[in-house]
């Protein structure tokens, strides 16, 4: 088995800058699963921030090229298209190249595997046309293929903002960016760039569902309240063919876990991250980390962290005195992290026991309220000028006036209305409803209903709004059958929704998928938790969540979030399972020795 002084896993900015330094001093191997080195950078067409020493105002793919050129000049063994599948005892790294397993040993290991995108479960989020931001960049900027025509972007962090801009550059139409928070997540300049192209950023909005049969044809978005709950009645349909999910990145910690590095949940740094010291040394004395794996940050900090780790490895292996160089890099890092946007990183690092100079923290604020009405009466929602006065004729109490010209929209006098509801059954447009709002927290509404089966007393149904979106659960209180087949269903519902609910339907089993691999829905997980099984490991065994081919990369955090929300136990206190090799599904044939392949 080949042995190296240092092995670097991941050829993004962190891994490349590290390998460059390492190559000057010790026998080094760098592994990356892509065909070319560069990591995230190869997909970035925009100019980067930073300083001159760190490639400021160069475009991402150009930086990737410079770093790559540099590393190819060094005495470093480079193996691309090499997927590391596990870290094994005796400092062994197993990877697959050309469909075959390879094994190598290290004295010191640097893991710089970066991060992957978070998923967001919403109804139909598994539909073709719902893509991660990275996927869209891969298609558009790497393969030169149009990813779609009309886009909705979820998330206004830098990635979402940049993506919007990049899409506009290909001529695509970005309908809007929705952001659940009350302010833009990314840099203001990035946001302004996007805004002046005419792309709106809808704050306090989220996606409710994607629509379409075989692929995305539209999307329903809605406003959210402070707790990120959808505000009923604010739903909107938008026609798009592609939905881009860019709601943040999660460090790829699996290999670090397998190398027995301690992992801790520090949301400020991106979720579960390897515990490490200032010089990127993990709790395993032979293992270092750098870049997005250690904290979701920037290419600039990734490069510096890579160098730092490399210098420390060189120092450990060769006793070369790099004290000055190391302290210089540490100072540069502090400067990069001193701005207000880095406050989360600073807080996260502090939790790990690493102190960074401080700057004030931005504040948050909050929302509007609604109003109400009273008594059992008709509600007429007919504002269009059509030739019709059936309501006026049906009312024996003179409460509805259309007048001489039957094209006039009706005028209604609630003081004369007795609540007989004859007009409801009379209106050809089904535009009249009954409503009663007293002191109780519940209201009653009567809805014209022309479907089968006819609801029954005390049945639970869904209240639907004008666009057919679910508003709330409600209870059937009375069903009045009429000879003309326009029956009236009276339902009781929370007062707040009287103005929204205009239709009732039987509940439909529709719940977003949390796990794509095993097709597990939010509802299934919640039911298991409700049945008293709250341990992540037990939920996993019951639902197969995280047991599919992706190994839980996508659904683990979402599941932990659901458990935490339902049990009130903070995510950091939950057990989160064990990562097991292979990290990527690997064919049996990869492990075959000899010429049988």
């Amino acid at each position: 088995m080949k042995e190296y002084d240092a092995i670097v896993i991941g050829g993004g900015p962190a891994g490349m800058s590290a390998a460059s330094v390492l190559g000057d001093h010790v026998k080094t191997l760098i592994l990356d699963e892509n065909d070319a080195l560069g990591g995230q950078l190869v997909k970035q067409t925009h100019k980067f921030f930073g300083d001159h020493a760190h490639y400021a105002s160069k475009r991402g793919f150009e930086i990737a090229k410079e770093l790559t050129d540099e590393i190819y000049k060094k005495p470093v063994d480079i193996s691309t298209a090499s997927t590391v599948i596990g870290i094994y005892p005796q400092n062994t790294v197993a990877y697959v190249k050309d469909g075959r397993e390879e094994l190598v040993r290290y004295k010191k290991l640097l893991i710089a595997t970066g991060a992957m995108e978070r998923q967001l479960p919403f109804i139909n989020s598994d539909l073709p046309g719902v893509y991660g931001a990275g996927a869209i960049q891969t298609l558009m900027n790497q393969y030169g293929i149009f990813p779609g025509k009309r886009f909705l972007i979820i998330g206004s962090g830098n990635i979402g903002l940049i993506l919007a801009y990049q899409l506009a550059q290909t001529g695509a139409e970005v309908r809007m960016i929705v952001e659940a928070l009350d302010k833009v997540g990314g840099y203001e300049v990035h946001a302004n760039k996007v805004k002046r192209l005419g792309i709106p950023i809808l704050l306090k909005h989220t996606i409710v569902k994607a629509m379409g049969d075989e692929s995305v044809q539209g999307v329903v978005i809605a406003e959210v309240d402070d707790k990120f709950g959808v505000i009923p009645g604010t739903e909107k349909e938008i026609v798009v063919d592609t939905i881009c999910v860019s709601v943040g990145l999660i460090p790829l910690t699996e290999l670090a876990e397998q190398a027995k590095c301690k992992i801790e949940y520090i949301p400020e740094l991106g979720g579960y991250v390897p515990v490490r010291d200032e010089r990127m040394h993990t709790t395993n004395s032979d293992v270092f980390v750098a870049g997005d794996l250690s904290s979701i940050e920037e290419a600039t900090t990734a490069i510096i962290e890579g160098k730092l780790a490399a210098m420390q490895i060189v120092k450990d292996l060769t006793k070369t005195d790099l004290g000055k160089e190391i302290s210089d890099e540490l100072k540069t890092l502090d400067i990069f992290r001193s701005g207000p946007k880095s406050f989360k990183i600073r807080k996260g690092l502090e939790k790990m026991g690493i102190k960074v100079p401080e700057i004030e923290v931005p504040k948050l604020f909050q929302t509007p309220i609604e109003n109400a009405k009273s008594k059992l009466h008709a509600v007429i929602e007919c504002t269009e000028e059509i030739p019709c006065n059936s309501c006026e004729s049906s009312c024996k109490f003179d409460a509805i006036k259309v007048g001489e010209n039957i094209n006039t929209p009706p005028i209604f006098d609630p003081s004369k209305c007795t609540g007989c509801a004859v007009c409801v059954t009379a209106c050809p447009g089904l535009a009249i409803f009954m409503e009663k709002l007293d002191e109780s927290p519940n209201a009653t509404i009567g809805i014209p209903y022309e479907f089968l089966p006819l609801p029954k007393f005390n049945e639970k149904m869904w209240g639907m709004d004008k666009e057919g979106n679910y508003v709330c659960d409600l209870t059937v209180k009375r069903v009045v059958k009429n000879p003309n087949k326009t029956n009236i269903v009276y339902v009781e519902l929370p007062k707040e929704f009287v103005d929204d609910v205009r239709h009732v339907r039987y509940p439909k089993k529709e719940s977003p998928f949390v796990c794509r691999c095993e097709e597990v829905t939010l509802d299934q997980i919640e039911k298991i938790i409700d049945s008293g099984i709250t341990d992540f490991e037990e939920i996993k065994r019951m639902t197969r969540i995280t047991m599919g081919p992706c190994g839980g990369k996508n659904c683990k955090m979402i599941t932990l979030g659901i458990i935490s929300r339902k049990t009130g136990i903070p995510i950091s206190k939950l057990s989160h399972g064990t990562s097991r090799p292979p990290v990527k599904p690997t064919e049996f044939s990869a492990f075959l020795r000899g010429d049988e392949k």
């Binding site: 596990g86 094994y88 005892p89 062994t92 197993a94 397993e101 094994l103 049945s531 008293g532 099984i533 341990d535 490991e537 037990e538 065994r541 019951m542 197969r544 047991m547 599919g548 081919p549 190994g551 057990s575 097991r580 090799p581 292979p582 599904p585 690997t586 064919e587 049996f588 044939s589 990869a590 492990f591 075959l592 020795r593 049988e596």
Partner: protein, 380 residues
């Protein structure tokens, strides 16, 4: 936590859970299971889930046959679908002496009333055309053998135990047992003290540690076994196939994934449940040779667990001679899942009636080691 129980079961794996379930079913009250971690965190959660009756020792055959009866009723009785599937077991023989053993075993198994047959190489090829039968002499085939999901079975028991009024306490460790004048008075845990006069040691490969708490020696040790699972593919493999000669077993779950393992070539001691790359290499080599169609199937996960090994590879189920009402059920040597339902029933009978009623398990007492008893051969 409760502070009093009629029985405390130490270990909430499949064995402890099955015992507690049967105690409750037979009408006992205040039954309490104490589990150090989550449900199925021990060997049960790492197990392959095979359920077979084709053993070389008649005791194992009898117990397994009773278990199969109980697995057939599991969903109705315990209340959950555990992916139980009677797709059979196919054992392959490669040498003359192995063939002779199979023929002898089948005769013995038939005498116990098991519907089992010898298949010729040709019949195997006919039935399972995708198996490479090169070198195979014959096979032993029992169609009522099968498999189930051990983790769900374990959780199913736990849920049923709670529903029936029993206590199933997780994330709690038993740290000591109070014995006065040869009588148990209570159990100490890291979450409090429970008064009881009966303790069942069902702590799997760690059962000797519980034995030590009352001063008795249980000759059981852990032995690492590795195992892997693939992505799901459409159903093609009915039986669980065991190949002693090539040292592996493989089955297809109802979910579609293939689960397979082997006896470690260099078994690591029980506390080590790490993974090795050699395992993937060894498995790939022989599995692709014997099942060429899986060559491009993806492995998605490997893990390992401990067999709770006894000196003759058969369970040890007994009550202590020195401490009254200290009962242990351990040493399942890689087949504790399939035996659990029958063992649960037998141990519950021992406690409630003072003797077993349904299945006689007196052969499994500790004193057999003094006499000397034949080892179970059919183990991977």
């Amino acid at each position: 936590m409760i502070d009093r129980a009629s029985v405390v079961v130490v270990g909430g794996g499949i064995v402890g859970s099955a015992i507690a379930f049967n105690l409750l079913k037979m009408g006992m009250k205040n039954v309490c299971v104490i589990e150090r971690s989550y449900v199925s965190s021990g060997s049960t959660g790492r197990c392959a889930g095979g359920i077979r009756q084709q053993w070389s020792s008649s005791m194992n055959v009898k117990l397994a046959m009773r278990s199969v009866k109980l697995f057939e009723q599991f969903e109705k009785e315990v209340g959950m679908n555990i992916e139980y599937y009677q797709g059979g077991y196919l054992l392959l023989a490669y040498t003359d002496s192995e063939s002779d053993d199979f023929v002898k075993n089948v005769k013995m198994q038939k005498s116990q009333g098991l519907d089992v047959d010898i298949l010729t190489k040709h019949e195997i090829k006919e039935k399972f055309p995708f198996i490479n039968v090169e070198g195979v002499k014959l096979g032993s085939w029992c169609k009522s053998d099968g498999h189930a999901n051990p983790q769900i079975a374990n959780i199913a028991y736990a849920i049923a135990i709670r529903k029936m009024g029993g206590e199933f306490i997780t994330h709690t460790t038993v740290t000591g047992i109070d014995v006065q004048n040869g009588q148990i008075v209570g159990v100490q845990t890291d979450n409090g003290y429970i008064h009881t006069n009966t303790v069942i040691d069902a702590a799997g490969f760690e059962s000797p540690k519980i034995g030590e708490m009352v001063g008795i020696t249980i000759p059981v040790y852990g032995e690492r076994h590795q195992i892997l699972v693939t992505e799901a593919v459409n159903h093609f493999l009915d039986p669980l196939v065991i190949n002693f000669n090539h040292n592996y077993y493989v089955r297809q779950t109802r979910h579609g994934s293939l689960i397979m393992g082997q006896g470690d070539v260099n078994p690591a001691p029980g506390e080590d449940i790490g993974n090795t790359i050699e395992f993937l290499e060894e498995m790939s080599e022989k599995m692709v040779r014997d099942f060429p169609i899986i060559k491009n199937v993806h492995i998605v996960r490997q893990w390992s667990g401990a067999y709770d090994m006894s000196p003759d590879a058969q369970p040890i189920i007994d009550e202590s001679k020195s401490v009254s009402r200290f009962i242990y059920a351990t040493g399942f040597s890689g087949h504790g899942f399939m035996l659990a339902p029958a063992v649960g029933e037998a141990v519950a009978e021992m406690i409630i009636y003072g003797r077993t009623v349904t299945t006689d398990i007196s052969n499994l007492k500790m004193d057999r080691f003094a006499i000397g008893i034949e080892r179970e051969h059919n183990v991977v």
